[in-house]
Symmetry: C2
Subunit: 409 residues, 2 copies
């Protein structure tokens, strides 16, 4: 099923990462977790151009280093192996050996080159990987181009997530129909910084690894990097895209007339996945979207929006349907962006609260009532320039505390 | 009652801000709140050298600007008027007029110069001050040098705090006994940045406003600026110290042989108040002290410590007595300080968890048991240099969410 966004771009519902030509996937339980799926694979019929962005944390998990090495060799990947339940982070030399072993097991099983395999992990930090279970699990994987298998993959990468997260668009490059699909996980420890949580994107577009990286970097800065659940940047954040070229069009580059279409599809896909993560934040009951206009620059607009949506006081107030707008203004004071305290506009939903920093004649109960909804929008105009940006987050609830007070026990 | 810290320095229990010579205080309910005290005054028998540090938020409350103006005129204050229940923040020109009106009412009632009065406010942001009630309240204030009156002042500045916060030390400058006392409030919106929440310090030391500011700046950076409850920097943070010179010693300056004693007394007083604020953080059940050693610099040590104690995941884990040490390490990754991921020591209480990033043979249950206590200490050694620093915070509990989901309603 597809709905048309523009003449060029169609949103595919029932989206899954095996819709682009030549991709298969699978997900199983290999015993890291008790029953839930914990091991998944994405496989391309031929080596695909690959690009990834990683966490900026100084403590990077072993699989990120190994994936980076693989991509740097040729710019190509043909498979990605992913486990949940154990982050393989802060595991030293042994962790690196385990990440290599996972890649090697995949390359042997599917007849690939070692450096054509990427690896990702998510779960508890600092625990040794149950590597035997994982290697045996790899032998059980039977990837196929089926919705069910793709969904099994999406399930296998989840931790405290309550839902799988998928998005998919189709568009034309020249005469060829191209599909771009993505899946993601993330619920807590979400405050991506120049990189993001786990997300895997597949496309049959024909594009070099270099240009793919250019597009991915630009788009993640405005999508995944604009969400926050709890201000915590993870050790395992990674977005990885594979482009196997099977759509058969002339190679994409920034000079190609359809480059803009590709960027737009990538932006829509990443933004949809990013919003799914924010909506499924640990314990969340509401998705909060903050739009900042009139900032000095786009970066400042996004920074201000992310500070508001990251404020525990704003998040708690929205959970309680309390229109405590003074807290939103207080965040602007410390967000590190240029403001003029006497010329701020603020709306909650469609209700104007401040105009040029003067309180509008709003009805407290109407806004409280609006805040009972499941999607809350806040709009700020700083009247400093033309910068505009958005950020997404969720409310802070009792359940966030409950989930995180007993994670390892 | 006094206990001796060093030959020079004694801690006074039953501390109150009227213990230094020449200071009186009072606190009443003037009707901003329903029943609780909401208006207080500190008065000195003669104009006192004054120094203050203020929030670095770009949205500064009106009373801060007015206090700053008063101090800048002569470096002297003789009275400070404080209300709780309304922050007089983001209230524009009318807010400034209300802050001036409070000072004028005090100067007239007590026969002071207008610019010898400081003013502070704390409470809801963005609401118009009920100025008539406050001005009438000022007429009811009858400051005296009594423990009860000092306690009434300490109560009158509270918002969501559950306890008053006081500290007091005596020491000798030359032959004279000098007393330094302080009181503070703060429970939520606590993440002071180069300044702090509301705290008022009185002393009968003889010191110029300039040198008092020098000492205050140095000490707040290592005390109030090292606490966090929720990562939110307030619009109304202020620490104010009054020194009326009535102890009668030769004027203090950095060249005076007892300068170090004065700094030590100020450090002990401010640290004690800062820890009281962290312990009484909104919804908190535990005080958390994080010590970072071996950082590149003292500033980096304090930054790393403050990041750990500010992490919602670490805070939730401690609330749940869950020794999820991987989260502490994850924070070090994004704290913006120099680290070497392979050489980190970590202890929880007296239990070594990591040595040179290798997991020690610790007993999970013993640490869980330790975490049931009301004071938790975490120690990290980064092995990068000689920088050492501490920070204080509290656990994240259901009650934080409860308190903040219905603050204005």
């Amino acid at each position: 099923m597809a709905s048309i966004i523009s003449s060029q771009l169609k949103k595919i519902t029932g989206s899954n990462i095996t819709l682009p030509k030549g991709f298969t996937a699978a997900g199983i339980n290999c015993g890291i977790k008790f029953k839930k799926k914990d091991l998944g694979i994405i496989l391309s019929e031929k080596p695909a151009s690959a690009a990834a962005v990683y966490t900026t944390s100084k403590i990077k998990a072993a699989p990120l280093e190994v994936t980076k090495e693989s991509i740097e060799t040729e710019g190509l990947l043909q498979a990605v192996i992913v486990n949940s339940g154990n982050a393989n982070a802060f595991t030293g030399e042994q962790g690196r050996m385990h990440a290599y072993a996972m890649c090697r097991e995949v390359s042997e099983r599917f007849g690939l080159l070692d450096h054509h395999v990427g690896v990702a992990s998510t779960g508890i930090i600092g625990e040794t990987m149950p590597i035997e279970k994982i290697l045996q699990g790899i032998q059980q994987l039977t990837p196929a181009a089926q919705v069910d298998r793709a969904m099994e993959f999406s399930q296998s990468i989840l931790t405290t997530d309550t839902k799988t997260k998928n998005a998919c668009y189709s568009f034309n490059i020249g005469e060829s129909e191209v599909i771009l699909a993505g899946t993601a996980k993330g619920s807590g420890m979400i405050h991506p910084n120049m990189a993001t949580m786990l997300s895997f994107l597949t496309t049959d577009a024909n594009i070099s690894s270099e240009h793919l990286h250019l597009a991915l970097k630009k788009v993640t800065d405005q999508s995944f990097n604009c969400i926050t659940v709890d201000g915590e940047t993870s050790t395992n954040d990674m977005v990885l895209i594979l482009a196997n070229g099977l759509a058969g069009h002339e190679e994409l580059s920034p000079e190609h007339p359809d480059w803009g279409t590709f960027l737009q599809a990538l932006t829509l896909t990443c933004t949809e996945l990013a919003k799914s993560i924010a909506r499924d934040g640990e314990g969340a009951t509401k998705l909060i979207e903050v739009t900042v206009e009139g900032a000095a620059t786009g970066d400042e607009a996004r920074a201000a929006a992310k500070s508001i949506v990251g404020s525990p006081l704003v998040k708690s107030a929205i959970f309680g349907c309390d229109p405590n707008w003074g807290r939103i203004v207080a965040v602007l004071g410390y967000a590190g962006v240029e403001i003029c305290p006497d010329s701020i506009d603020l709306s909650i939903g469609n209700f104007p609260v401040l105009r040029q920093s003067k309180i509008e004649d709003f009805n407290h109960d109407e806004i409280s009532d609006y805040l009972t909804g499941s999607e809350i929008s806040i709009t700020v105009n700083l009247h400093k320039g033309n910068g505009k940006g958005k950020a997404w987050g969720c409310d802070l609830t009792y359940d966030y505390v409950q989930i995180n007070s007993s994670y390892t026990t």
